[in-house]
Structures are given as structure tokens and as C-alpha cells.
Amino acid sequence: MIEPEVATRWRSQGAFDRTATLLIGTVAVLAALLAILQATNGLASTRAQAQAARLSADAAAKISASMLVQGATLGSQQGALVLGMEAVSALIVATTSGDAGLYAVGTANQAASGKLTAALTESAATSSAAPVDPYAAGLMSASIDQLNAQVTEQNRQVDLANETGARSQRAVLGLSLLTLAGVLAGIAAVLGRGRAGWATLGVGWVTTGVVIGVTLLTVL
């Protein structure tokens, strides 16, 4: 028969071993879970950041391209209008001064103004038509509604990048604390079932509890 105090000591040692190994096992499972969360959220954040930047570049290109085309089209239409107004002026001057030659020139320029407007309209209609490649055509023909939708999506991607980035950081925080818990479990195993060992084990479990909270915050 062994002495009762020896049996009690062994029972105490068994409880200590179970608590310590359960802590190590929990740390292993939480480490796996947090690694998954960190990896998936990190990936999502990286993708959203890149996508947001792509959308910004694309929106900027569309704004620049549509402004270029619209500016050139408006400028040319103004040129045709100026020609027509000059023709009308020549007609007025020719009428008041009785200059038949000037009147004929004004009449010809007035007709030219109309034909030039038609030619410009004909030219503008081909701006984004075939054989222009779809990307360049899309840049030129982007509407305000399309740009607004793109900016909304870009903002959503930025928000997504921030949110998943924060989750990824929380997962890293959890992994860091988990490392501490693992080290504490190891130290407790070395110290054994004495007061110091139990205290270290307790701190390890408290740290693991915090990590579980951090994990829940990362998931939710």
C-alpha cells in the first residue's frame, strides 16, 4: 500500500498534467484556427487594396479620356459655329455696304459652316466605334452614372480592405498572445505541480481565454 499522501500527490500531479496538456492542445487548435483566419483575412485585404487601386486608376483614366474627347468635340463644334457667325457678320457688312463679292463669300462660308458641322458630327460618331479596342472605347464612352457606380465600388473595396485588414491584425494579436500562452505552458511543465507551476499554468489559461476572445472578435 502506498501512503495516502503519496496517492494524493500523484492525483495532484495527474490534474496538473491534464491541465497543462489540455492547455497545450488548446493552444495548438487555436493556433491553427488563427492561422487560417489571419491568412484568409490577409488575402482578402490584399486583394481589396489592389482592386481599390485598380478601380481608382481606371476611374481616373475614364475621366481623363472622356474629358479629352468631349473637349475636342466641343472645341471643334465651337469652331464651326464661329465660322457660321463670321459668315453672318460678312453678310451683314456686305448688305449695308452693298459689297456683292463679300456677300457671296459670306454666303459660301455660311454653307461651309453647316457642312463643317455635319462633318464634325460624322467624325465624332466614329470616336469610340470599331475598330477601336474595347478598353479605349470604354474609357471614352464612360458615363457619369458608370463613374459614380465605379467610385461606389471603389469605396466598398477600401472599406473591405480596412475591415479585413483589422481582422488580420486581430488574428496576429491572437497568435502573439498564443505564443505567450504556449511558452507559459512549457514553463509550467518544467516547474511542475508546485505553486509556481500552477500559477504559471493559470496565467497561461487566462492568456488563452483572452486569445479565445480575440478569435471570436476576429470571426464575428
Binding site: R11, I24, A32, A61, G101, A112, K115, A119, L120, E122
Partner: protein
């Protein structure tokens, strides 16, 4: 930890079953001593060493597999990130190339070409009018038309858009779309850029990387079983079997992701 348990002196009878002793492994040895007791103790030690080795092997395998899976998932994540960054760089390069072509066409070519078109139409109208007039009026119209013709001769030859028949439209305009296409095709590499394809490749790699991390969970559970098998000696065999099964599942899952995803 186990060192404390393993320190039970041979020949001491423990008045507690493993269950009563909360599963802590003990080594009951007969009180009679002698060869039989020694043999039983030796067999018990061998069995204990074997099961301890099983715990160590399972923990080691779980750690090694987790490391391999982690490295592979990290590599895939890195590749996915590279693809997404390439897609971004490609997007910027593509938009810069397209904008450069558009600026060249609409800022450098179109304004003078429109002047040429206007002058050309004016000349035609003036000559048409001159043909219907006589005397001084006809002379005035012809002189005006000649002025326009001189202007055209001076500037039109510089601009292919204004002179090349391929760009001429029936109404006197020019085919800006065809001209833009030709300008763009002077740099075919920029036209061929496809950031969407790079993005899709990055998405595929990212999905594979995310899937590759999932086997870490069964591997962690296998480590949990292995750790629990140490103090719970009464259930060690079952725990080791469960841990091995979960470990195998995790390893197969990782292989499936690698092969199929």
C-alpha cells in the same frame, strides 16, 4: 511531467486504479517481487515507452505537416498577392498607354485637322459659288478659294489623318476611330495588356491559398489529441487513434487542395 509518473518505484503497490487515479499512468507491480514481477514491470515499461513514442510521433507529425501546409499556403498567398499587384501595375500601364494615344489624337492631331476640314469645305463652297457667278464677284470668290487652297497646301500634308484616303468619310469628316486604332496599334504590347486575366489568376491562387490553410485545423486537432493522450493514459490508445485519423484527414485534405484547386 511524465518524469514524475515514471518515477514510481518498482515493487510498490498502488492502491488506485488508473481511473481512480484520474488516468495518470501508474505501473502496478506485484508485491511478491521476483522474476515474474520483474518481467511484468519490464513489459509495462515497454508498453508505456511504446505509447509515449506514439504520442511523440503524432505530435511530431502534426507539427511537420502543419509547417509544410503553412509554408505552401504562404507561398500560394504570396503568388496571389504578386498577381494582384501585377494586375494593378498592368492596369496603370494600360490606362497610361491608352491616354497617351488619346492625347496624341485629340490634342495634337484633331485640332489642326479640323481646321483643315473647315478650310477644305470653305474652299469647295467658294469654288462652287464662283462657278455660278461672273465678273468681280466670281473673281472675289476665286481669290478667297485660292487663299484657302494655299492654307491647305501649307498644313495638310503634315497630318495623315487629314490626307490619307482610309480616314476620309463620305460627309467630309474623318474616321477618328480608325485613326485611334492605328495609333494604338503602334504599341501592340500596350493594347494586349490584360489586367483582368492577371486578376483572375490571382483570385484562383488566393482561393487555393485559403483552401490550403483549412487542413491546419485538423492538424491542430490531431495535436490536441496527441497532447491529451499523454495524461489520459487510460484513453491513450483511443486518443492516439483519433489523432492519427484526424491527422490523416488533414494530410489528405492538403494533398487534395494541392492537386485539385
Amino acid at each position: 511531467m511524465e518524469g514524475h509518473v515514471g518515477g514510481v518505484p518498482a515493487g510498490v503497490e498502488i492502491d488506485a486504479t488508473p481511473a481512480e487515479n484520474h488516468g495518470v499512468e501508474t505501473t502496478p507491480v506485484g508485491a511478491h517481487g521476483g522474476e515474474r514481477a520483474g518481467a511484468e514491470a519490464h513489459a509495462g515499461d515497454a508498453h508505456r515507452d511504446s505509447s509515449h513514442r506514439g504520442v511523440a510521433v503524432l505530435l511530431g507529425l502534426a507539427a511537420i505537416l502543419a509547417a509544410i501546409v503553412g509554408v505552401r499556403a504562404t507561398a500560394l498567398s504570396s503568388d496571389a498577392s504578386d498577381m494582384w499587384q501585377s494586375a494593378l501595375r498592368s492596369e496603370v500601364k494600360r490606362s497610361a498607354g491608352a491616354l497617351e494615344s488619346l492625347r496624341y489624337l485629340y490634342q495634337s492631331e484633331v485640332p489642326p485637322v479640323l481646321t483643315i476640314l473647315g478650310t477644305r469645305i470653305q474652299e469647295a463652297e467658294l469654288r462652287t459659288a464662283a462657278a455660278t457667278e461672273t465678273g468681280a464677284v466670281a473673281d472675289t470668290l476665286t481669290r478667297e478659294a485660292d487663299v484657302k487652297a494655299n492654307v491647305l497646301a501649307a498644313i495638310s500634308s503634315t497630318y495623315e489623318l487629314a490626307t490619307h484616303p482610309a480616314y476620309a468619310l463620305p460627309g467630309g469628316g474623318v474616321n477618328l476611330g480608325l485613326r485611334l486604332s492605328d495609333v494604338r496599334n503602334e504599341t501592340p504590347d500596350l493594347v494586349a495588356l490584360d489586367p483582368d486575366a492577371l486578376q483572375a489568376a490571382g483570385d484562383a491562387l488566393g482561393a487555393k491559398a485559403a483552401a490550403m490553410t483549412l487542413p491546419l485545423l485538423p492538424l491542430g486537432v490531431a495535436a490536441l489529441f496527441a497532447a491529451l493522450a499523454q495524461p489520459f493514459a487510460g484513453r491513450r490508445r483511443e486518443l492516439l487513434a483519433a489523432g492519427t485519423a484526424v491527422l490523416t484527414f488533414g494530410a489528405l485534405a492538403a494533398l487534395a487542395v494541392e492537386a485539385l484547386a
